[in-house]
C-alpha cells in the first residue's frame, strides 16, 4: 500500500533516520489509513446480513485499521507532531491513494464485489501471498514494496533518532491502544500494525490464531473458501473445503466520477446525501479534535457519528437510482468550511 511515497522517498535510505522524515512518514501513514476507511466501510455496509462471516471479518479489519490510525496519530503526537486529518480526505472515486501511492489504482466507493475485493487486495498486498506465492511487482530500488517495509523503515528511524516521547496530547484509552511512552511501546505498536495488516512470518494469522490479517480476510471472501493450515505442515496454508458463501449485498452501483447530479435525484435522496456528508464532516472534525487536543470526549462523539453514518448510508444504499443502474452509495465528502 505504501509502494511509492515520492516525498518520503526523496530521502536516501540513510537520511531517513531524521525526526523530520519520521514526522512526514507518520503523517502519510495516518492519511493513508484514513483513506481506506470509506471504501472498506461502504463494502461492509452493502452486506445485507451484518452477522454474515464475511461482514464480521471485514468489520474487524476496519476496526483494526482505525486502531492503526490511532497508533500512528499517537506516535506522531509523541514526537511533537500534530496529526492532520481534516484537510486530507480524498475525493472519491480516487485515482491513487493519498501521497501519490499506487497512482494507477482506482479506488471506488462501491458495494462488496469481486471488483472491490480486487482493489482491497491490492491495497493490503503482502510481501508474498503465502497461498498462491504471488508477489507484488518488485519495487524500484529505494522504494517500499509493502506496508511491512514501510513500517520497518519507521521503526528504524525511531531506533536511530531515539526521540523523547511525550504523553501530552496522546489519546490513550479503549480503541486507541496503549501509550507510546517507550521504544518498546513504539515497536510493539508497529509490530501490531504489520501483523494485523499482512500476517506474521509466513502465516495468515496475527497474534491470535483465530484472527486473520486483513489481506487474507479479503482473500477468503474473494475465493469463497476458508483458509486452513495443511495438516502436519505448520508453515503451509491453503484454501480448504469449507465454503464461505459470498454474502447477499444491496445492489449498489459505484459512485460516479464527480458524484451525482443534484438536479436528478429526488429530494429525499438529496436530503440523505447532505445529511451523510454533514455527519461525515463532523466525524472528521471530531477525529481531528481528538488529536489536536488529546480529547477523549471528541473520540466518543466521532464513534457515535460513525454509527450515524451507517444508518444514513444504508438508507441510501437501499434506494435505487433514477437511471436504473443500481442503488446509491454515499459520497463521503468532507465539506470543511462549507458546513
Amino acid at each position: 500500500m505504501y509502494a511509492a511515497i515520492p516525498e518520503l522517498l526523496s530521502y536516501e535510505p540513510a537520511s531517513r533516520c531524521t525526526l523530520e522524515w519520521l514526522k512526514k512518514a507518520l503523517q502519510s501513514a495516518i492519511t493513508l489509513e484514513f483513506a481506506t476507511l470509506p471504501p472498506y466501510l461502504t463494502a461492509l455496509w452493502s452486506i445485507k446480513d451484518e452477522m454474515h462471516p464475511a461482514a464480521v471479518s471485514i468489520r474487524e479489519a476496519v476496526q483494526e485499521e482505525m486502531q492503526h490510525m490511532a497508533f500512528a496519530c499517537n506516535m506522531l503526537t509523541a514526537i511533537g507532531g500534530t496529526p492532520q486529518i481534516a484537510g486530507r480526505v480524498p475525493q472519491y472515486p480516487a485515482k491513487g491513494l493519498p501521497g501519490d501511492v499506487m497512482p494507477d489504482l482506482v479506488v471506488d466507493i462501491d458495494g462488496l464485489s469481486q471488483a472491490s475485493l480486487k482493489t482491497f487486495l491490492a491495497i493490503e498486498q503482502p510481501e508474498i501471498d503465502i497461498i498462491t506465492g504471488a508477489k507484488p511487482a518488485s519495487a524500484e530500488p529505494g522504494k517500499f514494496a509493502t506496508i511491512g517495509e514501510f513500517y520497518d523503515a519507521i521503526a528504524e528511524a525511531f531506533k536511530e533518532t531515539n526521540p523523547p516521547l511525550s504523553l501530552k496530547g496522546q489519546v490513550i484509552g479503549p480503541r486507541t491502544g496503549w501509550a507510546i511512552d517507550s521504544m518498546h511501546a513504539v515497536l510493539r505498536a508497529i509490530d501490531t500494525i504489520k501483523e494485523q495488516g499482512e500476517g506474521s512470518s509466513g502465516t495468515p494469522v496475527d497474534y491470535d490464531p483465530a484472527d486473520w490479517c486483513h489481506y487474507y480476510r479479503f482473500a477468503e471472501v474473494a475465493e469463497g473458501r476458508k483458509i486452513v493450515q495443511l495438516p502436519g505442515e505448520p508453515k503451509r496454508w491453503a484454501y480448504g473445503s469449507e465454503k464461505l458463501p459470498f454474502p447477499e449485498v444491496w445492489p449498489v452501483a459505484k459512485l460516479p466520477k464527480g458524484g451525482y447530479d443534484r438536479d436528478r435525484v429526488t429530494g429525499a435522496v438529496l436530503h440523505l446525501m447532505d445529511r451523510f456528508d454533514a455527519t461525515f464532516t463532523r466525524m472528521v472534525d471530531d477525529i481531528q479534535a481528538t488529536w489536536t487536543g488529546g480529547d477523549q470526549a471528541a473520540l466518543w462523539r466521532a464513534i457515535q457519528e460513525m454509527f450515524d453514518l451507517q444508518e444514513i448510508g444504508l438508507a441510501l444504499m437501499k434506494t435505487p437510482r433514477c437511471d436504473g443502474k443500481g442503488n446509491y452509495v454515499p459520497r463521503w465528502r468532507y465539506l470543511g468550511a462549507e458546513l
Binding site: 451484518e50 470526549a297 464513534i303 457515535q304 454509527f307
Partner: protein
C-alpha cells in the same frame, strides 16, 4: 390568554407522542404539530452527567421521579410511586430498559378465555404488522429461532448472547422443562455495552427524547414544535363531540395558554391521561370527558414483581454483572393454561446478580487479597417474574387538589388486592423456587415487591361500546370526534410482559389511522 393553532396537539412527549408524530410527519413533513410535556428537558448524552451517574450513581433526571409526599396511596394494598415513571421531555422511555416482547394472542382475548376482565376490540393479527414495524423502529435485537409467538418478519438485529451466569440457570430450566430464550431488547447498532443504559452515553437505546430531537433537527419539519415545562390543565370543547383546545400553563413564563387543534392526542401515560380527562369537566361532560360511564381512571393494572433469590457458597469463576440488561428469559409459563389458572408469568434472570461491588471494597481500604476473598466467597442469582395482573373496577387513579412540582395535580391511587391474590402469588413463587433449587442454590428470599406503577395499564381502556371502554378500537374517545388517547392506559388488560413494544405498535397504527383520516 395566549392562543395558538395547530393541526395536531399531543399531550406528553414519550414513546406514544413521538411515534405518532413521526408517522404523521413521514406522511406530511409540513404538518403543524405541537407536543407539550409537563416536565423539564434534561440534556441527553451530557458527559458530566454521565460521569456522575457512573461514579455517584446519580441519574441526571432523578428529580423527575415522583417524590415522597407528592402523591397518596389510599387503598388497602400499598402502592409505591418510587421510580415508576419519569416526568420529563421524552417521558419514561428516558429510563426504560428496552425489553421488547410482543403480547400473545390470548392476551387480547382475556374475557372470552377466562370470563373475567375484558377482551381487546382488536386481535393479535391486527397488530402483528405493526409489531414488525415497531421492532424495526426501536431496533430490537432478538432471536429468530424462538417460537413463543407467530411472527411474519425476522428481528431487525441479532440477539445479545446469554451471559456465563445465565448458563447455570439455563441448566436448571432444562431440568424442569422450561425453555430458555434470549430477551429481545431495543438497542441501536451503536450500543457499546457500557452498562449505563439508564443514561446511555451514545444514545444507543430508543427514547422519546432522542426521537423528538431527531425530528426537530430535520430542517424539513418546519411546523413541529415541542415545549417542555408545559403542564396541560384541561381540554375544552365547543360541543360534546368537538374538542377545541388544550389549556396549558407555560411554567417558564407563568402564562396560561390555549393550543387549538384539529386533532388532540393525549399521550400522558396511565396516571396523567385519566386525570386530565377527569379534570376536563364542562356542561357537555359533567364527570369529565369520556367518563359518562365512570370508566376513566379505573381498572388499574400493573405487574406484581415476583422474586426468588438463591445463594451458593463459592464464586470461583469471579462472576459479576457485565451487561445492564437481562439476557435470559422464558415464556414457558406465559401460556393460556396459566392464564386460565389465575395468571401467567414471564420469567427472567436478574441482570445485576451475581455481583460484588469491587470499588466499594476498595473504598473501604481493602487490600487485594481482602477484595478477592468476598469476590470468590459466594454468589447469588435471582429469578424474577412479572405476573399478569387483573384490573378491578374499584382500583382507581384520581387527582388531588394540590399541584406537584411540575404544575400537574398530585395523584391518588386507590388500590386493593383481594386476599385470595396471595394464594396465586404463592403458587407462582413456588414455580420459581424450583428453578433456584434445581441450580443447587439455597433459597434466601422469596417475595413480591411493593406494588408500583411501572407498567400500569387500563385506566382509559379500549372497548367497542362506550359502556365497555373509554376509547374505541381506533383510540378515539367515545362520544368525541377528534380526541384520541395513545398510552398504556388504553390497554383493556395487561399481560405478563412489558407494555412498551405494544404501545409503539399501537402508536404506529394510530399514526396510520390519522394519516388516512386526513387523506
Amino acid at each position: 390568554m395566549k392562543r395558538r393553532e395547530f393541526e395536531v396537539v399531543f399531550i406528553g412527549s414519550g414513546v406514544a407522542a413521538s411515534t405518532v408524530a413521526k408517522t404523521i410527519l413521514e406522511n406530511n413533513r409540513l404538518a403543524s404539530i405541537l407536543i407539550l410535556d409537563a416536565g423539564p428537558k434534561v440534556a441527553a448524552r451530557d458527559r458530566r452527567s454521565w460521569w456522575d451517574y457512573l461514579v455517584l450513581d446519580r441519574r441526571p433526571y432523578d428529580y423527575c421521579y415522583d417524590q415522597k409526599g407528592e402523591n397518596k396511596s389510599a387503598g388497602k394494598t400499598e402502592w409505591s410511586f418510587d421510580d415508576g415513571r419519569v416526568s420529563m421531555y421524552g417521558g419514561s422511555t428516558v429510563h426504560w430498559g428496552g425489553w421488547c416482547r410482543r403480547f400473545k394472542p390470548e392476551d387480547f382475548e382475556v374475557y372470552s378465555r377466562t370470563g373475567t376482565r375484558a377482551d381487546w376490540p382488536i386481535c393479535y393479527d391486527t397488530l402483528e404488522p405493526y409489531y414488525c414495524r415497531a421492532e424495526e423502529y426501536l431496533s430490537v435485537c432478538g432471536d429468530d429461532s424462538e417460537d413463543w409467538v407467530k411472527r411474519s418478519m425476522p428481528y431487525p438485529r441479532p440477539p445479545f448472547p446469554w451471559t456465563a451466569p445465565d448458563g447455570e440457570m439455563i441448566a436448571a430450566f432444562e431440568k424442569l422443562g422450561i425453555k430458555p430464550g434470549k430477551l429481545p431488547i431495543a438497542r441501536y447498532r451503536k450500543c457499546m455495552t457500557t452498562g449505563t443504559c439508564k443514561y446511555c452515553p451514545f444514545g444507543a437505546r430508543f427514547s422519546g427524547q432522542i426521537a423528538l430531537d431527531e425530528l426537530l433537527a430535520d430542517g424539513r419539519h418546519t411546523n413541529l414544535e415541542v415545549l417542555h415545562n408545559t403542564p396541560a390543565a384541561r381540554l375544552k370543547g365547543s360541543s360534546k363531540r368537538r374538542m377545541e383546545c388544550v389549556e396549558y400553563l407555560d411554567a417558564r413564563t407563568g402564562e396560561r395558554c390555549e393550543a387549538y387543534a384539529t386533532t388532540i392526542v393525549a399521550c400522558a401515560g396511565s396516571y396523567e391521561t385519566p386525570k386530565l380527562l377527569q379534570s376536563s369537566t364542562s356542561r357537555f361532560w359533567e364527570n369529565g370527558i369520556g367518563n359518562d360511564h365512570d370508566l376513566v381512571g379505573r381498572f388499574i393494572s400493573s405487574h406484581p414483581f415476583l422474586i426468588v433469590t438463591g445463594e451458593r457458597g463459592d464464586n470461583a469463576e469471579e462472576w459479576f454483572q457485565e451487561f445492564d440488561f437481562p439476557t435470559l428469559m422464558s415464556r414457558t409459563y406465559d401460556t393460556p393454561e396459566l392464564q386460565a389458572d389465575g395468571g401467567k408469568i414471564f420469567l427472567f434472570k436478574d441482570r445485576t446478580q451475581p455481583n460484588v461491588d469491587i470499588a466499594a471494597l476498595m473504598i473501604q481500604g481493602k487490600s487485594r487479597p481482602e477484595v478477592d476473598k468476598p469476590v470468590r466467597a459466594k454468589r447469588t442469582q435471582e429469578i424474577q417474574a412479572f405476573l399478569d395482573d387483573r384490573g378491578r373496577f374499584e382500583n382507581r387513579v384520581s387527582a388531588l387538589p394540590a399541584p406537584n412540582r411540575f404544575g400537574l395535580p398530585q395523584t391518588q391511587i386507590d388500590f386493593t388486592r383481594p386476599p385470595e391474590f396471595q394464594n396465586l402469588i404463592a403458587k407462582r413463587l413456588d414455580l420459581m423456587e424450583k428453578i433456584i433449587l434445581a441450580m443447587d442454590y439455597k433459597v434466601t428470599r422469596k417475595a413480591v415487591r411493593t406494588q408500583s406503577g411501572h407498567h400500569m395499564t387500563s385506566t382509559c381502556r379500549m372497548g367497542k361500546r362506550p359502556e365497555d371502554g373509554v376509547v374505541d378500537e381506533n383510540l378515539r374517545v367515545h362520544g368525541t370526534d377528534n380526541l384520541f388517547v395513545c398510552s398504556n392506559a388504553v390497554f383493556p388488560t395487561g399481560s405478563a410482559v412489558n407494555p412498551t413494544l405494544t404501545l409503539t405498535a399501537m402508536s404506529m397504527r394510530l399514526g396510520d389511522y390519522l394519516n388516512a383520516e386526513v387523506a
